[in-house]
């Protein structure tokens, strides 16, 4: 069965109400006639035998690379780095792709007599994973063989003894990454490529880097020059990572990249209506929608959140490729585009989005207001190629409860950023120049990042920079159904209903605006002509 492509539908009077994600829940909204709705492509067929495909990929590398077996020698130092908790979203049902790939690599390493093997979670400045999360990603077998011996590490971008400074790229960007990785004879990087931005040189150059290195591309100027960062040919973020990746390669550091892609089968069967087109909902879908909405309206938000965060996605591996970084990533990108690209013609005045409960940075946690902004303006807004879905000066309307809530364990510096920085200014450039360093070098945040499960002190800044392109592009941002105080702190306008929001938008884009609703997730990339 081949999956139907994504498409753009025009709303007319017979169109049923459209599903809008709204945090830990959803709403049905009637869009004005003439609005467009972009539906993602249906999930592509998964690989029939993923383990077999992995073995094939390891044996048949792409680009200038020998097969993995040929690279494994007795007595060598092998480091296996893997993507952290931010991928995939939602976390996948067991076994996780990382477990499959790493078990395959470890078997081969064992056969080749390699006994110096270290696993590193490529956190960059993300929070450390908990034991349960590591066990979920790697499986108990891998965890129990490595963790007790201290061979399962989490990248520590603040460990003064754990980093190696390699030098600068031709653009003067400092490159500093994990010492263990630098000293290894081979790095095997195990990636999950959920969106087009992931993978490639970004895996090592970002995942294993320090703040000193990251600040060269995690900044306002880079993000504003990435239009969008999902489109590698027009992304300065991509270019900077590529320069660094190539520089790392020039220093003789050997990387065997293994990239995987997933289909967009995002939600388990009891929530299958979430990835179906509304007019195709059968009686069971409608009943589930009503029943789940009823149940959720009765249970406290806290319980709903816990339930949502325990959703494990059935998404399945749609491709796996290994070998030299750039060649591998080219093939990976093709697969991502094949699943996610939807052609759209022309921009509109208003873009509407329903924001779900999860983003890369709040797995098992609350989507705090800063992450709401980043999910909408950073991620979803940038899911385009060529041109944004909304015209310059247009309006973005997002639906999310945006409560004034933060997880104090995962996001301690977010609390202070929201309290102390956004209360002063929302201008990304001012924020970067005035506040970034003090948060980045704050010893308490560093302590929590290194020993607890906290995102690095500078991380909320990156979330705000992620929004910089959208903030520059848009004329107004409205959040429907959000806590007015929190929404205003973000510098956005709160609206009670979508209809109110549309009225408010008219002040900016005129009385007869065109409107596009981007029906994600499941994920898609709009190819806007």
């Amino acid at each position: 069965m081949s999956s139907r492509p994504g498409f753009v539908m025009e709303v007319d009077r017979s169109t049923p109400p459209t599903l809008f994600w709204h945090g830990e829940g959803w709403k049905l909204e009637k869009l004005p006639s003439g609005s467009r709705i972009i539906y993602p492509k249906e999930p592509m067929e998964a690989l029939r035998d993923p383990d077999r495909a992995i073995q094939d990929a390891l044996d048949n590398p792409l680009g200038e690379s020998e097969p993995l077996d040929a690279l494994l020698k007795p007595g060598m130092k092998l480091t296996i780095a893997f993507d952290d908790i931010s991928l995939p979203l939602p976390p996948m049902q067991k076994p996780d792709i990382r477990q499959r790939v790493i078990e395959a690599v470890l078997t081969r390493a064992a056969n080749a007599g390699v006994d110096d093997v270290v696993l590193i979670a490529a956190l960059a400045l993300h929070r450390r994973m908990t034991e349960a999360e590591l066990r979920h990603a790697l499986g108990n077998r891998v965890y129990d063989s490595f963790a007790p011996h201290g061979l399962l590490k989490q990248h520590d971008a603040e460990d003064p003894d754990g980093l190696t400074y390699l030098g600068t790229t031709d653009k003067g960007e400092e490159v500093e990454i994990s010492k263990r990785a630098c000293e290894s004879d081979l790095i095997v990087y195990v990636n999950i490529n959920l969106v087009a931005m992931d993978g490639g040189h970004k895996s090592v150059a970002t995942g294993l880097a320090s703040y000193k290195s990251l600040r060269h591309h995690h900044n306002v100027a880079t993000m504003r020059a990435s239009k969008s960062f999902m489109d590698q040919h027009h992304s300065e973020l991509h270019s900077a990572n590529w320069r660094m990746g190539r520089y790392i390669k020039q220093q003789g550091i050997k990387i065997f990249q293994i990239e995987t892609t997933l289909n967009t089968n995002t939600f388990p069967s009891q929530f299958r209506f979430l990835q179906k087109r509304e007019w195709e909902w059968d009686i069971r879908d409608r009943a589930t929608f009503i029943a789940s909405s009823k149940v959720m309206s009765k249970t406290p938000p806290r319980i709903n959140r816990s339930v949502f965060h325990s959703i494990l996605s059935p998404h399945a591996m749609s491709s796996v490729q290994a070998g030299e970084v750039e060649a591998v990533h080219e093939r990976t990108t093709e697969h991502v585009y094949a699943q996610q690209l939807v052609p759209v013609s022309g921009q509109s005045d208003i873009l509407t989005l329903g924001l779900p409960y999860i983003s890369p940075y709040n797995v098992n946690s609350v989507l705090n207001p800063i992450l709401v902004a980043c999910l909408g303006l950073g991620y979803f807004f940038n899911l385009y190629r060529n041109k944004p879905l909304v015209r310059k000066g247009g309006v973005l309307i997002m639906s999310h409860p945006t409560t004034w809530e933060f997880n104090p364990v995962h996001h301690p510096s977010y609390i202070d950023f929201f309290d102390q920085v956004l209360s002063e200014t929302t201008d990304p450039e001012v924020i970067q120049s005035k506040y970034e360093e003090s948060f980045a070098k704050d010893p308490w945040y560093i302590h929590l990042y290194r020993t607890g499960n906290a995102y690095h002190g500078v991380h909320p800044f990156y979330m705000w920079y992620w929004c910089a392109h959208a903030l520059e592009h848009l004329g107004k941002v409205i959040i429907v159904g959000g806590d007015p105080k929190a929404v205003s702190r973000l510098g956005f306008s709160p609206a009670t209903t979508l209809m109110d929001a549309l009225e408010m938008a008219k002040d900016v884009v005129g009385s007869n605006p065109s409107l596009t609703h981007f029906h994600v997730p499941p994920l898609a990339i709009a190819d806007v002509s």
Partner: protein, 808 residues
């Protein structure tokens, strides 16, 4: 006449720091150019008489007019014409040393205005000052009289018109023994009995059962604050109890003898004592009625301190006092302070009556009476036009006055007060903290406001029911005798236009004086919080000391223990262990309330036999998995803010040091409990370092401050409970964080800054303090819930499905 007569005279004034005294000193300096003033001032505990004179008299706004008139010459003028001597009218010979006596000998006139004016003074105190004071002055003057070539000095004693008691009709200007209905009283016997009542009360307060009561009450009020603080509190309660008894005794004795209160009673006996013991000293007695703000001098409306009518009027304007008892046609005998001053000066200028002790009354009642109904109407109409505002910025509408009898108002107020105190008692026994606890504190404030109102009614009720007419014949005679030069000394109360006085002079002045809210808007309280926060976060602070449990983290040693103890247990054992602890909670709580130190020591025995290495390994996880989720982000931010400002930060906690390992980097230093371990790293259950609790915390801070050369007066302390009282008292800037009821009440009374720091609303919440399972299995913690929800959704949807199908 006045200026000539007083030229080159030295005038002694007692009570110069009081309302009348200050006005008198100022008027003499400003309007009688060539006299010299000698003020007798009692030195304070930390201030000399000279300092008090400067601070409490010269710098007072009473002198603004004079200061403006003299400009640069002001200081010189004061220096030349004002002498301060240190003494005390409560002591024999006024407590004067040789130099003081010499100075006294030079005085030609003495105006004795020192008195305990408060109407609810303890009986013995009123007796010492009001009854014996005037005769002590007379005796001291008699003692130095032989050395005066010009003969003995003239003593003018300030008394009160109310010595004439509560009888109806005319009250003439005669000495007490000649007054109508005069009782035959022996003032010396009254002195003896007042002193005996005091010693009886002291003895009674030290009875075994009483002392046990005080101890119990102290514990109820401040809880486990440590022995020294409890002792201090109990002693405070005891002396308050004695004082209250003495106040009641004074009121009872006075009212029994027909006086409205102990003030009038002791003043009356004071006149008798003075006349009996003045010897060669010529005396004049001046009796003002109720002295209120100035009509004209030094400026209209000038007033010092809160007197009798003001609190009542302000309580009424705030809506607190709905009614004040009084007879509508009764006279409220009020007299502006500057008329009393003028009278005193005129009496001094005139000199003593050769026929013996003279009495001059200065009162308005017989000459220009202000009726109670008229006063009430004036007050009410003014406040209707110029309302006060409540904390929400809403104007307060003053109630209509119904002129109830004293009994009715009193019983109404008594009912409200007793209901409030019962409520307060109930609330204070509940384990509340934070905002709920502040409700208890608010109750307490309300109750004390009503109690005060009740006090006013009890005390001042008599003054609105006065039907005596104080004659002022001598006053008018005196006024007649003044020259044209003396026209600025106004004695005749007939000149007062009451409407003008109440509306344009008195009320505007007291509203400013009372610092009440006279404009809409919510700013006042916000400003106060802002100011406090600003003061706390001033870079010049030295040290910020923090308590941990419920100040920075909503957790306690029991939770932490439960978490650690269950960390390596499986399934049912985990729940069993925490349920076991929960079942123990009430007894643990009780023990903790009694004495925190004992509780900690006993509780920590549970760690006996635990492997320190394992605990240390788990501690970081305890920190992120449990403690941080219960932390108050505002608290953590506050610690960091203090550090950023360069203050030293210190954590003082009874928690075990390894359990708070993750928090250590937040502070410069940490003082925690420490447990000994044997050579194998197995904990002994015994503490190597006693956890600092109660008063020990104050000592820890003191030691720390002196070690780093920090000043505690410039330091801040944060805590949540009355058991940290010693620590909070030790610093200059105490902050109550999410205070429990006892501390909330204390903080409110003492005006301490209160912070409400919530937990982060997005933090994961757990029902039981249980560590994560040792082997996270296939399923996440919420898989069960997810399954349940899925099932619920499925069931619900299939029933909907069925009903839809049926409809088809």
């Amino acid at each position: 006449m006045i200026r000539d007569s007083l030229a080159n005279k030295r005038i002694l004034i007692t009570g110069a720091t009081g309302f009348l005294g200050t006005a008198l000193v100022e008027r003499l300096l400003r309007s009688v150019p060539n006299c010299h003033i000698v003020v007798l001032i009692r030195p304070g505990q930390r201030q000399s008489a000279q300092d008090r004179c400067k601070r409490e008299i010269i710098r007072h706004d009473c002198f603004d007019t004079l200061r403006a008139e003299l400009g640069d010459r002001f200081d010189q003028e004061i220096e030349n014409r004002l002498t301060t001597i240190s003494g005390d009218v409560g002591s024999e010979r006024l407590g004067l040393d040789e130099a003081g006596l010499l100075e006294l000998a030079k005085c030609d006139i003495a105006i004795h205005s020192a008195a305990t004016v408060s109407f609810d003074a303890p009986l013995d105190q009123a007796v010492e000052v009001n009854l014996l004071g005037p005769s002590r002055v007379a005796k001291a003057l008699a003692h130095v009289a032989p050395s005066r070539p010009t003969g003995p000095a003239h003593l003018i004693a300030v008394s009160t018109a109310y010595v004439s008691g509560g009888h109806r009709g005319d009250a003439p200007e005669v000495i007490p023994t000649k007054a109508p209905f005069a009782l035959d009283l022996n003032w010396e016997a009254e002195v003896t009995s007042a002193r005996r009542i005091r010693s009886d009360a002291e003895a009674q307060s030290r009875s075994i059962s009483k002392m046990a009561d005080f101890q119990k009450q102290a514990r109820h009020e401040i809880g486990a604050a440590g022995r020294p603080l409890l002792a201090r509190k109990a002693e405070e309660l005891r002396s308050d109890w004695v004082k209250k008894l003495m106040v009641e005794a004074g009121l009872a004795r006075s009212q029994m003898l027909g006086w409205p209160d102990a003030y009038a009673y002791t003043k009356s006996l004071g006149e008798r004592a003075l006349i009996a013991s003045c010897g060669p000293i010529p005396i004049s007695i001046v009796r003002p009625s109720i002295i209120e703000s100035a009509l004209a001098e030094p400026r209209p409306g000038w007033i010092r301190g809160f007197r009798m009518a003001e609190p009542v009027i302000i309580s009424y304007a705030r809506g607190l006092l709905k009614e004040f008892p009084g007879v509508p046609e009764g006279t409220v005998d009020v007299i502006p302070v500057d008329m009393v001053v003028a009278t005193l000066i005129a009496v001094a200028a005139k000199g003593p009556d050769p026929n013996g002790p003279s009495v001059t009354q200065i009162a308005s009642g017989s000459r220009n009476p202000l009726k109670y109904r008229q006063l009430v109407d004036l007050v009410r109409s003014w406040f209707l036009e110029h309302p006060l505002y409540d904390t929400h910025g809403q104007p307060i509408v003053v109630p209509e006055w119904s002129f109830p009898g004293r009994g009715r108002v009193q019983s109404q107020l008594e009912r409200v007060t007793s209901v409030l105190s019962a409520l307060e008692k109930t609330v204070s026994t509940l384990p509340l903290r934070g905002k709920q606890a502040s409700i208890a504190a608010q109750l307490e404030t309300k109750r004390s406001q009503y109690e005060r109102a009740l006090g006013y009614v009890k005390l001042y009720g008599a003054y609105t029911e006065t039907e005596a007419r104080f004659r002022v014949d001598r006053l008018l005679e005196l006024a007649e005798s003044l020259d044209a030069d003396d026209s600025d000394f106004v004695l005749d109360p007939a000149v007062i236009d009451w409407t003008h006085y109440v509306h344009d002079i008195h009320l505007p002045s007291i509203v400013v004086h009372a610092r009440v809210k006279t404009s809409p808007g919510k700013k006042v309280s916000g400003d106060r919080t802002d100011r406090a926060t600003k003061a706390i976060l001033d870079p010049s602070r030295h040290l910020a000391a923090f308590d941990l449990e419920n100040t920075l983290i909503a957790s306690n040693v029991v939770d932490a223990y439960a978490w650690l103890a269950t960390r390596h247990l499986d399934g049912r054992d985990r729940v069993r262990e925490s349920m076991h602890l929960i079942s123990k909670a009430p007894s643990l709580l009780l023990q903790d309330r009694k004495d925190r130190g004992d509780f900690l020591r006993a509780f920590y025995r549970r760690y006996e036999g635990a492997d320190l290495g394992v605990l240390e390994g788990d501690a970081m996880e305890l920190f992120t998995d449990f403690l941080l989720t219960r932390a108050f982000p505002k608290g953590l931010a506050r610690v960091r803010k203090h550090r950023e400002l360069g203050h030293k930060t210190l954590l003082i906690t009874g928690a075990l040091d390894f359990a708070i390992e993750g928090l250590k980097p937040l502070f410069d230093d940490v003082v925690a409990a420490k447990m000994t371990a044997d050579e194998n790293g197995i904990l002994t259950g015994e503490l190597e370092q006693l956890p600092p609790t109660g008063e020990a915390r104050a000592l820890v801070i003191q030691d720390y401050a002196s070690a780093y050369n920090l000043e505690l007066g410039e330091s801040v302390a944060y805590a949540d409970s009355a058991s940290d009282l010693a620590m909070l008292e030790a610093v200059g800037f105490p902050v109550a964080v999410n205070p429990e009821a006892k501390l909330a009440a204390i903080a409110r009374r003492r005006g301490w800054h209160v912070e409400q720091w919530p937990k982060s609303p997005g933090s994961p919440r757990r029902l039981l303090p249980i560590g994560p399972p040792p082997h996270p299995g296939q399923n996440g913690p919420w898989q069960g819930a997810m399954g349940a929800l899925g099932q619920a959704v499925n069931m619900a949807s299939s029933s909907i499905l069925r009903s839809l199908e049926r409809r088809k």
